[in-house]
Amino acid sequence: MLQDFNLLSNIDGEYDSCIVGTGPAGMTLALKLAASGEKVLLLEAGGLSYSDRSQELYDCESVGHDAWPKYTRLRYFGGTSNHWSGRCRPFEKSDFYDRSINGLPGWPIRYGEIEPYLPEAMTILDLDPDAGFKPINKPSLEDHFYPDAFAQSPPTRFQAKYIDQITASENIHCFFNATAVDIKLDQSHQAVTHIQVANYNGLSTPVKADTFILCLGGLETPRFMLNCNKQIKSGIGNRTDMVGRCFMEHLNVPIGSFLYREPEAFTKLQFFTDDQFCQSSSIGKSNITMSIVSSVKSYGRTKAIKTFFKNLACQMQIEDKVQFISDFKCPGMGTIGTLIEQAPNLDSRVSLGDTTDSFGLLKAQLNWQIGAYDQNTIRQAALTMAKEFSNAGLGQIRLADFILNPEQEIKFGHHAHHMGTTRMSDDPKYGVVDRNSKVHGLDNLYIAGSSVFSTGGACNPTMPIIQLCLRLADHLKA
């Protein structure tokens, strides 16, 4: 059943589970739990399509490095799956080894606990489990980099794929335009009794369930928990002041460019750092993609002018200075893309700002920070890659000045992967949820999504999100 909460006055019924959020995490959980016979209440704050009115509620102030928090996620049915790229890669086994970074423990579970869910997660993401993950290139680079393997989802748009199934489902009651605005705890503050839900018309109603699961993403989940501060001043699940801390992104660092030995034969190269190398160097994982951009992106007379200046600039070796005319690379020159693991860091965090949204909730404030560990990861990975690329006879890499000069500030961007803000840890001192994704100190509140990642690895997060949700569904059913 699918209904517009703007047209209703209340949400009746008793539910086994209340899931807040309809992105990949929320929808996967709802379908899985409903299939096992549970009565599921599924809440979506936005509508069925994009609207500025809804997206405006994702307004978020950036006070550290800017990760574009307002635009890198989508607030409507299907969530951020409505614009994700579809790139899939599971975590590495080594991501779950015992380790401590910046004084914080890694995952409390082992990869073996989510590995069995990989085939089902691949099916959900419209991938063939038998095809697996294939490397796009063969050559390894000595001991430190090996060809990366990934799979490309169409990409799966969860709304388009599942809206009919959810509409027809007897066990799922889904309401859109239904914003969760508060969590009410029992007198002992050990269990959630209900969540208060509001529509755009100013109407608000409590919804009840045995179990509540927040699937709001790495920014909105901590924001919501911190805003629920009527009974506990520090917010829900925040007794150890960990909600919102350890915000992690995947670092997108323009480490340089390269010349390939045989440019005519080049397609694309992709490498992943070897775990032994990462461990011995005390650095995070890196995923490095090398591709050649040779075509000028324009047509007709404009293309002729841009091509003229491209050829002239390449001959004069002043291509860096004329990039404002057109985004091009000289013949044989390639760009290097990176997706680099960021370590958990207490100072990198989501907190509440001073202004409120139209529901009276304080807006989020994002202070994204990278630390010395991350800078070392970037420089070590880039330098080692450049040396091994040369040694392998594949060509030469030209590194950016900020890689070669440690005194220069590193330039980096993001990949729109918001992780770690309600991280998983057996010890409440270092995390918000336990190994079963249950919020520490609360009997019936769970969190799903990339906010529970203890560390982020160097893989796109959607695949592991789905695996963890399937595992959580099994736990809840048990």
Binding site: F308, L312, N405
Partner: protein, 66 residues
């Protein structure tokens, strides 16, 4: 002013401006070892150096200087 004349004027201006710049740059551009010495050389480790950002072996650098 007609649109086509504007485009032609712009294109011609670009070309006319670019030719002397290119000639000037060609005349002053040093080559071989002189040019190499003017580039920024940063040691990477005992096997590699970065010449103007390009990471090459020290032996390759020595060969180019010869």
């Amino acid at each position: 002013m007609p649109k086509s004349v504007t485009r032609r004027t712009v294109f011609t201006s670009f070309c006319l401006a670019a030719v002397p710049i290119r000639l000037a740059a060609t005349e002053t551009m040093p080559d071989n070892s002189n040019r190499l010495l003017q580039q920024k050389i940063v040691p990477v480790d005992n096997q590699f150096v970065a010449v103007d950002g390009w990471v090459i072996t020290r032996s390759a650098l020595a060969q180019r200087v010869k």
